[in-house]
């Protein structure tokens, strides 16, 4: 009990965590209430072409006269979705492979290790570009799944080595002597011990998924429907928004991605400080 309170105390006191959390919450909130703040739909041609920000169109309009603010708030959801789905899949895969490799050791470890190395050395996003280019219909979800499926190796590696050191701990031996099955030991004894680590892994995956998705979207290989921060940037660039001075179309999505991903990274460091007493500032 005491320990948890202590973590909470440090978590609440940690500036990095607080700032990161605040930024993230802000965007989450915007994602939720944003669509209610705007009377338009993202693909509606509602205003004059390329109008600068004004009272009516807070972030201005696109070349087509779409409301940038509307696109922006609607685009947040896919962005978070990619982050979460990609992050969850990546983390789960990383956990599964990391745990099994680390816990089992021996030949299983060897094989999984090679698999990890293979996926790690294949330039994943290049592969992703190639694969994604051929999928007939592309949705945010498929994109997210793809990203998740290819982003696990580093996590698997890290989790494996953690598991490796944990599995020799005596409490694992005790669990074995209590007749627990391997899977049960992994998930009830080892995993909870790495909870903070896994959480941080997820956060990094979350951020990376968003960045990867933005790159795909930007290259025109993102979802073919709906708006996301990446597709907004893609369209803005295709329609020469910056060159034509329509900066309001191009800047907000970039800032949003930077802020969201940045806040995740900052939170990660903050969490590290919370979980690791040595790094705490007294």
């Amino acid at each position: 009990m005491k320990k948890k309170n202590e973590l909470l105390y440090f978590a609440l006191r940690n500036t990095k965590l607080r700032i990161g959390m605040a930024v993230l919450l802000f965007f989450l909130l915007l994602m939720i209430i944003g669509p209610h703040l705007t009377p338009y739909k993202p693909a509606d041609f509602v205003g004059p072409s390329s109008a600068p920000p004004s009272k009516e169109f807070w972030f201005g309009t696109t070349t087509f006269g779409e409301d940038v603010f509307t696109q922006f708030v609607y685009g947040l959801a896919p962005t978070f979705l990619v982050g979460i789905v990609g992050g969850v899949i990546g983390t789960l895969l990383g956990m599964l492979i990391g745990f099994v490799a680390g816990y089992r050791g021996g030949a299983v470890d060897e094989v999984l290790n090679i698999l990890t190395n293979v996926v790690l050395t294949i330039p994943v996003l290049a592969l992703l570009l190639v694969l994604v280019a051929y999928i007939p219909v592309r949705g945010v979800l498929i994109e997210a799944v793809f990203i998740g499926l290819t982003s696990w190796p580093w996590a698997a590696r890290a989790i494996r080595s953690q598991t490796f050191s944990l599995r020799t701990r005596d409490f694992v031996g005790l669990a074995k002597m209590s007749g627990m099955s391997s899977m049960k030991i992994i998930f009830t004894e080892i995993a909870p011990n790495m909870a903070s680590y896994l959480f941080m892994t997820f956060i990094l995956m979350f951020g990376n998924s968003i960045l990867n998705a933005a790159t795909l979207d930007f290259l025109g290989l993102g979802p073919t429907e709906g708006v996301s921060m990446g597709t907004m940037m893609n369209l803005a660039v295709q329609w020469s928004a910056l060159m034509l001075g329509v900066w309001w179309w191009f800047i907000p999505p970039g800032i949003a991605i930077t802020c969201i991903v940045g806040s995740l990274y900052v939170m990660n460091v903050g969490l590290d400080e919370v979980f690791n007493p040595k790094l705490r500032e007294m």
């Binding site: 219909v137 073919t224 020469s240």
Partner: protein, 551 residues
């Protein structure tokens, strides 16, 4: 180390917008892939065709005439030299056409091989005269098309080549008769240097003003526009969205017209309809589609006014003279959703199951996709508008953006519902447009079909297109008569729905070169380096250019 070779700004014309990948072939027979300018700057054709004036100008040919209904005598221009010093001969011309003969010795499959459908043989009358002997009843329209299309080759060089080199070789050392010679090429550029010994110097009284032409490989619109703004690009044949605001914004950027649509019309973007699928096989349904599309939104919102709405006949402005205006008034359409609704209601389309979408008269659900390749942003916006308008009258039509490959595949295999296409380009003959719509025969459609992707079947129309093909060049009355019938078919049967005319995208910067083509100036050439356009008066544009410094 060699000294730095530089192209002085005031002697160099920078162009872009044609070459989409590193220049990799200088083979004029490689229709889709030769480096910008290979035909036109280096290789020349017997004629050039000026669509704005609707005029064939003898070019490598000095003159030509039909001595009888099946005999075409072409006089080769005197004093034309290949850049390797050899003179151009009748042999070269004969050779050029002979290799494309499917029954000849070489049997190269070339863009103008189809000429041999009508051609019997080629004879050399004298050193300067070539006689083309046609079979009975030749298709004059198509023949004219091939004559300004086929690049004349140097027999001495090409006759030594193997078939695969003729059709697919890179021809890295192009020897032509044109005003420019190969200078250098790299992944991102193609450099031509002027051929000061060009025959045109005497004929036109001048050489093209730019000593060098540097064609920049397209990066992205963004980069092209950036370079344009930096003044590093004289002619951009890119589709640059938003250029309207630049033309009026004091950036020194000019277009053919001073106001909307700014650009000449180059091709027609049509809604292709798969007539083999329900309910698109119902002409009423197709008609309703035509009435429901708010083309103005596409023109104004999507294209910010740089394109023009298409005439219901789909005929480009250069073919305006063939349009039967009264008939258009009677049979044509415009945006009227109420009318579209009524047509559908009358035809028995109603919402049976209460999902706010209409069902077909037989009660089956209608759920269609209208497609365009992912990443083609202007078209993506256009089909969004179409989908929106369709939903407004109760038709469930969703936009869909497959990648180019699957999209193209669906056309070739005829598996799409509705899609956009703009293959029908400006050409020397209106036949090219109708043959694209009514491509026949249906049963023999190859996978690499060109046209009629919706598999529209109409014997009468097919016959009319054949008849049109055989009209003599310049016989406008006959053309008008036949096309009036075809216009009627297209407007009542709706094999496709013409939507808007894509522009001959051309933006120029006058800081170094002036006297660009414009509606209000004297230069009425086509401002394009696009493939197939240099020999459609694009070369004229070059000849007309003047250095800005002179002023």
């Amino acid at each position: 180390a060699p000294a730095a070779v530089e192209y002085p700004r005031n002697e160099t014309l920078y162009t872009s917008g044609t070459q989409w990948g590193a220049p990799s072939s200088w083979n004029p027979l490689n229709g889709g892939g030769y480096a910008t300018g290979t035909i036109g700057l280096v290789y020349e054709t017997l004629f050039i065709y000026d669509p704005l004036a609707d005029k064939f100008t003898p070019y490598l040919a000095e003159s030509a005439n039909w001595t009888d209904a099946t005999t075409y005598e072409v006089k080769i221009r005197q004093g034309v030299k290949w850049t390797n010093g050899q003179p151009l001969t009748a042999d070269d011309v004969k050779f050029t056409f002979d290799i494309a003969n499917p029954n000849g010795d070489t049997k190269a499959g070339l863009g103008y091989s189809a000429l041999w459908k009508f051609l019997d043989n080629i004879e050399i009358k004298d050193a300067n005269t070539v006689v083309f002997k046609f079979k009975e009843n030749p298709a004059y329209q198509e023949i004219g098309f091939y004559f300004y299309f086929a690049p004349i080759l140097n027999k001495a060089i090409w006759s030594k080549m193997k078939l695969e080199d003729i059709t697919g070789g890179a021809n890295k050392n192009p020897v032509g008769t044109g005003p420019y010679k190969f200078q250098a090429a790299d992944q991102d550029r193609m450099v031509w240097v002027r051929n000061d010994a060009w025959w045109g110097k005497d004929v036109f009284g001048k050489l093209p003003a730019p000593k060098y032409i540097v064609d920049i490989v397209n990066g992205s619109n963004n980069v092209a526009l950036g370079k344009m703004l930096q003044g590093g690009l004289d002619l951009s044949n890119n589709f640059l969205p938003g250029v309207a605001s630049l033309v009026n914004g004091g950036y020194g950027i000019k277009t053919y017209y001073k106001e909307a649509p700014y650009m000449l019309s180059a091709n027609v973007a049509s809604l292709l309809i798969n007539e083999q699928k329900k309910p698109m096989d119902d002409v009423k349904f197709r008609t309703a589609l035509a009435w429901m599309i708010n083309i103005n939104d596409i023109v104004e919102k999507d294209y910010t006014g740089i394109v023009k709405a298409a005439d219901p006949t789909g005929l480009l402005p250069i073919w305006d003279k063939y349009i039967d205006k009264d008939q258009v008034k009677e049979l044509g359409w415009s945006y009227d959703p109420e009318k579209a609704k009524k047509i559908l209601a009358d035809a028995g389309y109603k919402d049976v199951d209460g999902d706010k979408f209409l069902e077909a008269p037989d009660g089956s659900k209608i759920a269609l996709k209208v497609t365009c390749p992912s990443g083609w942003t202007d078209w993506m916006a256009a089909i969004q508008i179409i989908s929106r308008d369709a939903k407004a009258i109760g038709l469930n039509i969703e936009p869909d953006y497959p990648d180019y490959g699957p999209w193209r595949d669906a056309q070739l295999k005829g598996t799409f519902d509705l899609t956009l296409q703009n293959e029908a380009q400006m050409s020397s003959t209106v036949w090219s447009y109708y043959s694209w719509i009514f491509q026949n025969p249906l049963d023999k459609i190859a996978t690499a079909q060109y046209g009629n992707y919706g598999r529209y079947d109409n014997k009468e129309a097919f016959a009319l297109v054949d008849q049109l093909d055989k009209v003599k060049l310049g016989d406008d009355a006959a053309i008008k008569e036949i096309t009036t019938k075809l216009q009627k078919i297209t407007m009542t049967e709706m094999p496709t729905i013409p939507l808007w005319y894509n522009g001959l995208w051309a933006q120029y910067n006058e800081s170094v070169w002036t006297n660009w083509p414009s509606a209000d100036g004297e230069n009425h050439a086509l401002p394009a380096m696009w493939r197939g356009y240099v020999n459609m008066s694009g070369i004229q544009m070059l000849l007309n250019l003047e250095p800005a410094a002179k002023k």
